[in-house]
Amino acid sequence: MSVVRVQSAPFDLGAETGAFAARAAGAGAVVTFTGLVRDDTGDLQAMEIEHYPGMTDRAIRAICDEAATRWSLAETLVIHRHGRLAPNELIMMVATAARHRADAFAAAEYLMDYLKSRAPFWKKEIGATGAAWVAARPEDEDALGRW
């Protein structure tokens, strides 16, 4: 089963992870990934995340569905925030549950690679001296080639 949540509200990583593992009982292996707002320059005031409401949910579900055809998964979870986030806030998380760890790891990495480059989110960094859209990294596009 896939659960997808796109929301402006914060989420509780601990509570989500605990509940996911409980739901995945019988699976054996649970992997989570969490992305946080990183302040590389010491100048970041906020990160603004824009998304395409009509498309976001379906794009993420399509990625989860594809993962479910590639690996034997008991459960997947994707939570992604939009709106204004402060440094060190949690941006998003994925969780995967499978019988064996190789499937859970591969599916989590696949979900992340596709969410990075194929889910309609755009990040803007707001600093003391100005704001700038985060550029897509060529490595992120290249990462899709491995699947």
């Binding site: 498309m55 992604h80 309609p120 989110f121 755009w122 859209w133 897509a136």
Partner: protein, 82 residues
Amino acid sequence: MIDVLYFAWVRERIGLPKERVETDAATVADLVAELKSREARYEAAFADPAAIRVALDQELADFDAPLAGAREVAFFPPMTGG
């Protein structure tokens, strides 16, 4: 008539998030050419087509995709989720 949506810096350059466009353009590329001919801000937003991604009715598409039957087209930079 088609709804045209803009996101991120495409939205900022064009100055609005959404508009309805009366067009007979056959493809996404034709629509872009039409918009660019309208005003400088479209010219600026679409100056580098390689930097722009397209979705047709909320599915990723190519610039040569036909517009016939589509209700919504969206233009935006490469996505930076995760």
